[in-house]
Amino acid sequence: MERLITSLQKWLMPVADKISNNKFMNSLGQTFQLLLPIIMIGSFACLGAFLDIPVWQSFVTSTGLQVILMTIQSLTLSIIALYVVIVLPIQYAGKLEINPVSAAVISLMAFLILTPHDLYTAIPTQWLGYSGLFGAMIVGGLVPRFIKFLINRKIYVRMPKGVPSIVEDSFASLVPSLLTMIIVVIIAWIFSTTSLGSFHNIIYTLIQTPMQGFGLSLPAYLIMQIICTLLMFCGIHGNTVFAVFTPLTMAAGAENLAALAAGEPLPNIITSSFSVFCQPGGIGCTFGLAFLLTFLAKSKRLRTLGKLSVIPAIFGINEPMIFGIPILLNPLLFIPYLLNPIICTVVSYISIATGIVPRLSGTEINWTMPQFVSGFLAQGPQAVVLQIVLVAITTIIWLPFFKIVDKQISTEEIENQ
């Protein structure tokens, strides 16, 4: 066991550290965090407009509220790639130490040139939404890199001394703008001659779709949950690993919402809100454990810890138990800690795949949303029932292990007195 833990720390830590130190991945994670309000507003507006309850439907259509909600969705979630291609370069440029605003402006220009449009009149939103998400990530990643490359090679317009810095700045970004423009015009033209028709369609067909197919499969998602769980066991927050999956699951959620709006069957089982099932009460599924500690613990310390942990557990925060029992590096508690997320993920996937629980609408759920409320918002009453079942299963799995640890600690307490 000791050896397992040391090797976990030896292998996982560098990987987690690499990912969390990677400037691009880091910027991408921050971008989605910053855009979360926009995404949530859009997804709830969509849910409000198309929620399939007859009373609600007649209310929103008769009052005209539906049009307002659809407008909100249409200008937030449905053009999310446009937001990404502005915010991502700002984040990334900051880390590359180049001018963030000019990087964002140039990225936006490049993205729009690559997007098929009607001259002077309209830009269809087809590629501005989730279908254009990977295109936006690629443009938003490559443009700042390109600007940085030009600056490193000292390819820019130099101004004589005494020129005000604002003038100098505007000329400084002229060369990168011009070169970027020329390159994307050529790329847009080359891609338009292919059978797929555009840059966006090529990225969508050749990169986004296969990556989603892989990333949204049960094995890949399960492995990600296991890695997050293992990292936390070593005392490392696994969020950075999760961030790699965010673009995929978010696009999947947007896809489901689009299908909901169109009245079509929902395409994806795993969306970002699928995570409301996987770790009830925090990593290791400790929701029930908090209640076991509070009501059944013989040890004084564990009982105090339980009282401390119940409310945070409802919001998915379990650091008090991780560090307080501690679950951290405790070989015995390793078993339920790792087993629970696997069971929860698999049971949830099967419940949705077999249709016992309907597919999730794709609304974006904040990770701190209270247990059961999160399930209701993600899908509805059936999801809440599933959450209750999962809490029951995980509590039963924790029970014997909790009893052993409680006995150990309470005996120690008595001996120490």
Binding site: I236, P312, E319, P320, G324, P326
Partner: protein, 105 residues
């Protein structure tokens, strides 16, 4: 007055701890300004703090931060994981004050 920052991934679990520490500081009678921050805020706040405490879950990043902010390395430390788990605000605060006073000497 001592300015103490608690930092973790989202500033959520350390946020729990802050309340306990504020209670402890009132009892001690030491005037302290204690708040929790998410990791992304670190670079904005590190300069004005007397002490920066990291949640044990991100202890593996301590060395990186000490290198990134060499001027402020001495005021950075990781909260003892057992104290953090039991939300022992009193002990965490006393340790922090000890560190600050050591640095001021």
């Amino acid at each position: 007055m001592y300015k103490i920052a608690l930092v973790c991934e989202h500033g959520a679990s350390t946020g729990l701890c802050v309340r306990k520490m504020v209670d402890a500081s009132l009892e001690l009678g030491t005037e302290c300004d204690i708040a929790a921050y998410s990791l992304s805020k670190l670079e904005n706040i590190v300069g004005e703090m007397d002490c920066v405490l990291f949640g044990p879950q991100i202890s593996f990043k301590l060395d990186k931060f000490k290198k990134a902010y060499t001027d402020h390395a001495a005021k950075m430390t990781v909260i003892n994981s057992m104290d953090f788990g039991m939300m022992n605000g009193d002990k965490i605060l006393k340790d922090a004050i000890k560190l600050i006073e050591k640095n001021h000497q």
